[in-house]
Structures are given as structure tokens and as C-alpha cells.
């Protein structure tokens, strides 16, 4: 049986080794998915861009948080259309009707209602007229809002309005909606409310709820069923709407909830996988390569070179790790053009190599005396060849294990720096998400979905590599095999 095969057998027979490998495969698969589906400049283009998150609810827990609340949380719902369902004649005007449907099935009120218009094409100088109606489960249709869109005088036709910026109508905040609802409640439920009362109750409760009237008070309960937002558009027959979007604000969002910028935390956390792996791998590979190479040279060459390398590694080895790294990153990042992430990786590498150099050197000191090295010298192999073709393979398993061992500390160091606010603002990492959550008072506010998952993932990533390293231990250190 070959060396590789038996090493693999030993590795895979260990429980921690297996667990570590499975976790690593999981992380790699997720990372590949992220790299394939996210833009590379995701951090700048999406994560740090408020526009990307405009439709999302702010600091809501994940959809599965129902488990803790004991009540079905209203799920965030976004729907859109660009095709009229029919045309109707009202008072001699021809209206195109767009319909956006919504079903309320949870025991709660959607927190908001918002409609957005994009790319409205106008073919006449008179423009178009829009009416927004709201249909309740019982079929009642309430007019909430209306507006005109007119091309600016002198503009060329056809004119496209709302091309760059959408027309946003915050129905759950618009006063005309409040007035419309006031009238509806009076007609339908014989409930006399002042505009102030309507404002206090919240338009969303009136839109999606029913009053339970008792002798003393009025209680609002959610009205389950099918709703729709209907948009009537009157204008030139050729006028059209590029897209109409309706956002029914939820009490929960997606797999992981949102932060105070309405960002989908699931996305940020997923993006953290390739970033953590890349930081961990890259840092540990380079650190190990430098540490091992210097150790081999130092041990094999001896003399002055050895002396110099050993003195430097002794000095660097005795630096206090985190404080010096913070200092380095702080100094480098005063240049805003320098990618912060590289400063962090560079600092970890600069301080990380000496431990391995000292270890490898002592191992090379004994290997150097072995006969196969002498034989290699006899056949005429150069020093470089002896060091890297003959000595290195003897250390390779050990060096590999050291590399795996170093990976979690690279990931944890990046997280620690991010937590201290030294992270790269252009690249979301788990450490940064935690930092932002603390900054926003997530702990005090009980926004657990914002704090716990990134912390858990950091731990998971570190544990993955610790497991793998433990699985490698018996291979690298055969004395442990008997146990």
C-alpha cells in the first residue's frame, strides 16, 4: 500500500478528521455557489449600496423566527407586473388596469405598503393619469391615491418618465390614503375616526385589518385573505409602464433577517464564506511557505544565514501578536487607496511565519545529517535541489498540517480586526457584520439574528480547520497512531 493511500486511511478513520472534511466540503461548496452567483465587487456594488436594499424591511428577524414568537410572522412580500390585465371605460376614459395580488395568511399586519413605478412611456404632451385602488378580501375597492405624469414641456415624444429613479409611493404613509381609509371605515364599519386617530392606529392596520368594537375600545385584528393593488392608467393607447412593483412590508425576512440598513443578512453571511476561506487559505499558505522556506534554508545552510534568520524570527516571534497587527493595519490603512484586506493579510503573514521557521529549522538540522542528503550531494544535486526536492518532501506532511493549523488563527485574526473596526469596508465579512451589529446596539435591542449567526460561522470555520488538523495529527506524528 502506498504512502498516500495509508495516510488517507488513517485520516478518514478518525471521527474529527471526517467531521472536519465534511464541514470543509460544505464551506467550499457554499463558496463556489457564492462566487458563481455574486458579482465580484459585491461589497461595493450591493452590500454598501442603500439602493440595493430599498425594498427590504429594517431589522426584522428571519422567517423561521416564528418558532420563537409563537405567532406566524408576516413574511415580506414583493410582487411586480408590466402587463395590464384588462382595459375598462370609466367616464369616457379608457383605463389600462394593472393588478398586483397579495394574500395575507399570517396573524399579523404587513408593516407597510409601497408601490413603485419604473419607465413610464408617454406618447402625448398631455401625459397619463394614474389611480391606485386597493381591494380587500371582501371585494371592497378603496381608492387610495392618484397622480398625473406629464412630460416636461418641449421634451421629445415618446418621453420616458421615471427612467433613472422610480416613482415611489409610500401608501402606508401618504395622507390621501389616510383620508381614503377614514371614509371607507365610516362607510363600511360605521366607525367615525379623525385623521389623527387614523394616523395613530397606522395605515397598515386599517389597510390589512378589521375593527373589533367593544363597549370601551376598538381593537384592530388582521384580516386574512386575498388583497390586490389595482393601478388604473389613462392616457394615449400606446402609453405603457415598464414595471410596477408592490412591496408588502413583512415582520420577518428571508433566511437570516435584515440589519438596520435593511440588508439581507443571508447574503452578507453567505458572502462571508469565500472571504473567510480566501483569507484563511491565502494567509496560511503564504505564511507557511515563507516560514517553511526560511526554516529549511536556515537549517540547511547554517552559518551566517542561519544566524540572521534565527535572530529575526526570534524578534518577530516575541512581538505581541494582536497589538502589533492592529498597529500595522492602522498605519497602512491611513492610505485610503490601499486595499485594507491586503493590509490585514500582509500583517498576519508578517507576524505569523517565525514559529514555523524555528520548528522547521530544528527538524532540518537532523535531516541534513542523514545519508540521503549526503547521497544527493554526491550525485551532484545543488543546494536548492537538496533543500526542496529531498528535504522538503520529508517535512511536507508536517508543513501541511501546520498550514491547516494556522488557517483558523488567520480567520479569527481577521474577525478580531474587523470587530475592532479595522476591517475592509468594501468586503463584508462575518467579523464586520458583528461589529456593525454591536455598533447599532443589536444586543441591547435583542436583534439576535444579527449578532449570533456571524459569530457562529466564525466559530464553525475555525473548528473546521481544527478538526482537520486533529485528523492529520496521527499521520504527521505517527507515535500517536497506537492510541
Amino acid at each position: 500500500m502506498s504512502y498516500e493511500r495509508s495516510a488517507w486511511k488513517i485520516y478518514i478513520s478518525s471521527l474529527v478528521g471526517k467531521a472536519g472534511l465534511i464541514l470543509l466540503i460544505l464551506m467550499v461548496v457554499i463558496s463556489i455557489y457564492v462566487l458563481a452567483t455574486y458579482p465580484l465587487d459585491y461589497g461595493i456594488r450591493v452590500w454598501s449600496n442603500p439602493k440595493a436594499w430599498a425594498d427590504n424591511p429594517i431589522t426584522v428577524p428571519p422567517a423561521w423566527a416564528d418558532v420563537f414568537t409563537g405567532r406566524d410572522l408576516v413574511t415580506h412580500y414583493i410582487t411586480y407586473t408590466n402587463k395590464p390585465v384588462r382595459t375598462v371605460d370609466i367616464a369616457g376614459l379608457k383605463f389600462k388596469v394593472y393588478e398586483l395580488k397579495y394574500t395575507l395568511s399570517e396573524d399579523g399586519f404587513p408593516t407597510s405598503l409601497m408601490v413603485k413605478f419604473f419607465n413610464v412611456t408617454l406618447n402625448t404632451p398631455g401625459g397619463a393619469y394614474f389611480i391606485i385602488n386597493f381591494t380587500r378580501p371582501n371585494g371592497d375597492e378603496i381608492t387610495l391615491y392618484s397622480f398625473n405624469v406629464v412630460p416636461p414641456s418641449g421634451s421629445e415624444l415618446p418621453y420616458i418618465a421615471f427612467a433613472g429613479n422610480a416613482k415611489i409611493i409610500f401608501l402606508s404613509k401618504e395622507q390621501s390614503v389616510g383620508i381614503g381609509l377614514m371614509g371607507y371605515m365610516n362607510n363600511h364599519y360605521h366607525l367615525n375616526l379623525t385623521l389623527d386617530e387614523v394616523n395613530e392606529i397606522g395605515y397598515n392596520r386599517l389597510l390589512f385589518g378589521e375593527p373589533l368594537v367593544s363597549s370601551k375600545s376598538v381593537e384592530w385584528v388582521p384580516l386574512k385573505g386575498d388583497y390586490s393593488v389595482k393601478i388604473y392608467m389613462a392616457g394615449d393607447p400606446k402609453d405603457s409602464v415598464g414595471l410596477i412593483k408592490a412591496v408588502f412590508g413583512g415582520e420577518s425576512y428571508g433566511w437570516m433577517g435584515t440589519d438596520d440598513n435593511a440588508r439581507d443578512l443571508a447574503q452578507g453571511l453567505l458572502f462571508g464564506f469565500p472571504v473567510a476561506l480566501a483569507i484563511g487559505f491565502f494567509t496560511s499558505v503564504v505564511t507557511t511557505a515563507i516560514g517553511a522556506a526560511l526554516g529549511i534554508i536556515s537549517g540547511y545552510k547554517g552559518g551566517r544565514i542561519d544566524e540572521i534568520i534565527q535572530r529575526i524570527s526570534d524578534i518577530v516571534y516575541n512581538f505581541p501578536f494582536l497589538p502589533v497587527i492592529i498597529l500595522i493595519v492602522f498605519i497602512i490603512s491611513r492610505n485610503p487607496n490601499f486595499p485594507r484586506i491586503l493590509a490585514i493579510i500582509g500583517a498576519i503573514i508578517a507576524l505569523g511565519w517565525p514559529g514555523l521557521t524555528i520548528l522547521i529549522r530544528s527538524m532540518v538540522l537532523s535531516i541534513r545529517e542523514s545519508q540521503f542528503v549526503e547521497a544527493a550531494r554526491a550525485i551532484g544535486a545543488s543546494d536548492l535541489r537538496i533543500m526542496f526536492k529531498h528535504i522538503f518532501p520529508n517535512l511536507a506532511p508536517f508543513i501541511f498540517a501546520q498550514m491547516i493549523f494556522f488557517t483558523p488563527s488567520a480567520i479569527l485574526t481577521e474577525a478580531a480586526l474587523s470587530f475592532l473596526g479595522l476591517g475592509d469596508p468594501n468586503i463584508p465579512t462575518w467579523g464586520q457584520i458583528i461589529e456593525e451589529s454591536f455598533y447599532a446596539g443589536a444586543v441591547l435591542n435583542g436583534w439576535w439574528w444579527w449578532v449570533l449567526p456571524p459569530g457562529f460561522l466564525i466559530m464553525l470555520a475555525a473548528i473546521t480547520f481544527v478538526f482537520i488538523a486533529l485528523g492529520l495529527e496521527p499521520i504527521v506524528n505517527p507515535k500517536l497512531q497506537e492510541r
Binding site: Q371, F372, E374, A376, I379, H390, N394
Partner: protein
Amino acid sequence: MSSGNILEVKDLYLYYKTFKGIVQAVDGISFKIPKGTAMGLVGESGCGKSSTANAIMRLLPGNTYRYEGSIKLDGMELMDLTDDEFRSRIRWSEIAMIFQGAMNSLNPVLKVGFQVAEPLIVHLGMPKEEALERARDMFEKVGLAPAFLDRYPHELSGGMRQRVVIAMAMVMNPKLLILDEPTSALDVSIQAQIMNLLKQLKKEYNLSMIFITHDIALASDISDYLAVMYAGQIVEYGPIEEVLLNPQHPYSQKLLASIPRLRVDKEPEFLPGAPPGLINPPKGCRFANRCPSRMDICDKEDPEIIWLNKDHFVKCHLYKGG
């Protein structure tokens, strides 16, 4: 100007410096090896056999104190070459060596095929595939199946590993092969197989050899000449039959008498005493303290080399002037 000798060594010295003093491991030795012949180099362990080999290979430890003399390979003075020239032109391509215990010191994490091929890669810059192809041929020559190319040393038996080491030495097709105790770590039946392989290679390639051993019987199996070494010096050198049947130096005589023989009633003789240390050895003959024919002069003067005929010398005061 080739004299028909592949190697001529004259007054070769190799001293080491240690904390205790200077070790005179090779102390002015001379011998010659005609082309296509093998010279056995025998002597007790610690007498300087390996040092002699290393001196010829110019593989000098860091504590080398004195290294001089003349080594002519096919008439060319090797001592005039720089280290770089020696490494690129002579070592392994012209003179190869099987180190003492080499079979147990192959690199444990490299495939043996690669280790055999490596001299070709290093010296000729041969692409790896081609070198491995040549290693495969060499494997066949030393009686190893090509499948073993991809094995690691620990997957092979001792005999197979020794064949690997022989292939590694032969792969550059050297003119001279130095074998330092090539069979001493093997059991007897394997030892015989390896000896047969060496004899066959010697014949097939008209290979010249220095066969180092402490076992005269083994040396006589393959050698055409025999050099007897004692305390850093060669005390007798000559054609194998002459030295074996008619040893001249008292040490050679004692050494031969100490070999147990089949079919001969005589008890093997025991050689009393111990060889002198190589640090500050006695001034006169180094064998004097154990010599049965010791004379006064032996304690005072180092004996000269005395040629008994054109192929046979002895370093002993007994033969002076006569």
C-alpha cells in the same frame, strides 16, 4: 597517455580535525586499478576504507584537515580540477559510488524510480520522463521489475533496495564504481545474488571497481587485485592470487590466517592486540605493536613501499634491500 590503468592513486592523504586531535584516516596511500578490473580494499573497521572512498569521490566532511595527493582517472589528474569541475564532470558521471549502508538511507519519501533517475536530471538536464525511461532500463539490468519504479523505499526488501542503489550508481554509466561494504547488511543468500549481479555488471560493462569490505573471502569473489589496509595505510597491494596464496606483510598473513576455512583442520588464528588510534599514531610502523616479526627499526621508522614485482608491493621493513 593512458597507461591502461583506470585509476592511479599516489600518496593520498585525508586527515580530519577533531576535538581530540588530528585523525589520520588516510595516510599517504597508493594503488592502481587496471581497466576492467576490481580491486578489493580490505581491513578492519575504522582503518580508513570509507575515508579512502570519500577522498576519491572528493566528498569531504566539514572538518577535513588535510587533503592531498594524486588521483589520476584514465591518466587525468583529478586533483587539478576545481570543485565545480569535479562535481559536474567526474562525480557520478565518471566515478560513482555505493555508500556504506546506502540501501537503508534512500530518501524515504521519494519514489525509488525517481531517485535512480535523478543523476540524469541533475547532470544532463534530462527531462524527467526520459530520465525515468532510462531508470526503467537500468532497473531491468539490475533485475528489478519496472513496476518497482513507483515504489517507496520502505515497500522494498533489503535486497531490492540494494539493487536500486546499484541502479542509481550505474545509471550514468560510470567508468569506475566504488562499492563500500555493499552486502554487509544483507543475509547470506541475498548477498550471493547481489555478488552475482555485480560480477555480471562488471563483465557486461567492462566496469572497473573498488570493492570495499572487511571480509576477505567476499573480496576474493570479485576482485582481481587486493589492497590490505591497516590504520590508515595500505600495507600490501597485489594481484589477488599472489596476496591470498602468498601474503607478504605480517598483517596480511595474520588476516588470512584468521579466516575460518572449510576442509582445513587448522583453527583460525586470533590476532592479539588492537590497531593504534589514528590520532597521534606511533612514529614507526603502525603494525609494530602486534607484529610477530617486529624489529628495532619498526618502532623508529615508517617503512617504505617496497615493490616485490611490478604489480605487488608491501610496506614492511622485512623486505628492505632484499
